[in-house]
């Protein structure tokens, strides 16, 4: 209950800040819509139509009144309800982020386990170097490198869009990746994955390095603990001890970090989606900002804020599941 209240206050804070900031910074949405030679009367009429003639607090409460009913207003450029536009793009970004997260966890987890298994050897040193490189190059640069490598020099993946445009899509939702699996349309699924793979990988590489480093560190510390030693005396080998005794305890700090980093990753989709012309929220956000489409910007930001708080909630729940000491607290 207290949790819900903090979440609401957070969202309200975000709403206020965004609402005020995009109205204070230079750039007039109305001016961008008008044809050359529009009269003062035209401007005043359009301002009144979108409510820009009222004071900022007034505008805010009108907007907030709509929001609580699920109405985020009308996009200035597209002249469509923001709610529908944003929700239509949300699945694309969610699928991309989750795919990137899964890839990061798999790659980072594998590196951590392998590095722990071969700790204090040259293999571990090599893993450290690889992680350092993965971490010091930002996601959009990885995106460019991947486009160059697997899109241009050795074109094995698609580098633009979400799906090949000529394909007939039988989907009822915008969760293409998910729905193609449900409908057993593996041909479409393969095409979607082939589009999604490089942008997801670009997002996943830096995160996988963070996961790999932290998890390896906590695994190595856990390997010195008494219960791990005790398991060794029971006849268990290194791999078994790492997986069954150490991993579950060592994963807790990593889990918290993944929660925080996942929100950064979702932030990263904005640039990556642009880079790969991927039709998601991030791409829409950039267009909205360029066009000063205030209602659309507000809608997207609120949605991102909702995702962030949702992710944090999921992390807290997972933490309680994995750590029995918190369960009966």
């Amino acid at each position: 209950m207290g949790r819900l209240l903090t979440t609401l206050i957070t969202l309200l804070g975000v709403a206020v800040v965004v609402f005020v900031v995009i109205r204070v910074v230079p750039g007039n949405p109305i001016a961008m819509m008008l044809p050359p030679g529009a009269t003062e009367a035209d401007i005043a009429r359009l301002n009144a139509l979108y409510g820009f003639d009222k004071s900022i607090p007034q505008q805010f409460f009108i907007w907030l009144g709509g929001v609580v009913q699920g109405d985020f207003g009308t996009s200035i450029t597209a002249r469509q309800p923001v709610t529908g536009m944003v929700l239509g793009r949300l699945p694309a970004t969610l699928e991309l982020s989750v795919m990137a997260l899964v890839m990061a966890c798999v790659m980072g987890g594998a590196m951590a386990l392998w590095g722990t298994r071969r700790r204090e050897t040259k293999t571990e040193a090599a893993i450290d170097v690889a992680n350092g490189m993965a971490l010091s190059v930002p996601d959009f640069l990885w995106g460019l490198l991947l486009i160059l490598g697997f899109g241009v020099l050795w074109p094995v993946f698609h580098i633009s869009g979400r799906v090949t445009p000529s394909l007939e899509l039988p989907f009822t939702t915008n969760f293409y990746l998910f729905e193609s699996l449900i409908r057993l349309r593996f041909d479409l699924w393969a095409d979607i994955v082939s589009h999604m793979f490089l942008p997801a990988l670009a997002l996943a590489i830096p995160l996988s390095a963070i996961i790999g480093q932290l998890l390896k560190q906590s695994l190595k510390e856990t390997m010195h603990l008494d219960y791990v030693t005790l398991a060794r005396t029971r006849g268990y080998g290194e791999t078994h001890v790492i997986l069954r005794e150490a991993l579950r305890n060592a994963i807790l700090p990593t889990l918290t970090l993944v929660g925080v980093q996942f929100t950064f990753l979702i932030g990263g989709t904005v640039i990556i989606e642009r880079l790969f012309s991927y039709e998601g929220l991030g791409n829409m956000a950039i267009e909205a900002v360029t066009n000063r489409d205030l209602p659309l910007i507000q809608g997207i930001v609120i949605l991102f804020a909702l995702i962030f708080t949702g992710v944090n909630l999921v992390v807290d729940l997972l933490y309680a599941v994995l750590n029995p000491r918190l369960r009966h607290g």
């Binding site: 204090e120 603990l225 008494d226 219960y227 030693t229 005790l230 398991a231 060794r232 005396t233 029971r234 006849g235 268990y236 080998g237 069954r244 005794e245 579950r248 305890n249 994995l322 750590n323 029995p324 000491r325 009966h328």
Partner: protein, 290 residues
Amino acid sequence: MNYLELKGLSARIMRQNHPLLRSVSLALAPGEVRGLVGESGAGKSMIGKAVLGILPKAVELTGGEIWLDGQDLQRLSARDRRHRIGQSCALIPQDPLTALNPSRRIAPQITDRLVDILGWERARAVTRAEELLHEVRIEDPARVMRAYPHELSGGMRQRILIASAFAAEPKLIVADEPTTALDVTVQKQILKLIKDMQARHGTAILFVTHDLGVVSKVCNRLSVLYGGMVVEDNDIDSFFAGPRHPYSRALLAATPKYTDPGASLTPVPDSVIAGVRGEIEAFDQRQAHV
């Protein structure tokens, strides 16, 4: 025949010429309880760890043999050695608060070995674990089996670890200061419990402790260590009647007497320390000439 035999076991910190064990030899007959006594750093825990194959990565064995049940452990592959130790030996650790995995329930922590290493059916292992918990006088074994370690007291956890050590009917148990981390009131109960369990199961125990009082209560024989060297190997009665080595004599004199709580503590005299250090130096010089 001896169940465990160490022949001239030497160990040192990796790549440093700092010996931790200096040609330690000792034998343990089936069902025998041998105390390993000495100050901190005397190498008593190191011996237990060497036997169980859990030496820290930075420690290497430089010589000697460990024979377990007529088998030279170092001649086995790492995997076989591990299995052999897992099947026939067990450890009662020092600190019950850190020796149970905090994120796993008690049941699998006892039954894992029975199922995975000894190849029992899980149901049989669970029954066995409950029997053992009952044997170490835990009131409600079924509930404890489902509990997580943080829900249990230190004394309870040590009982569980003792039950777990005896569960596979090992021939040898290494008890590494099993009462040091416990409350004084619980210490006595746990000590009595280990003694009772040992008597009932006839297990040989290597009992690592710095407390000669504990040794007098549970052990048949003892080895006194200083600087990784066994300075005295004696049976309990003759040791407490009159230790042979000056260092052991001083150590015994330094043990506070419960009969005379007002007496001031007598430290081991410097002259005795100097004497035993001299022996160690002489030993190292002999080693260097070999």
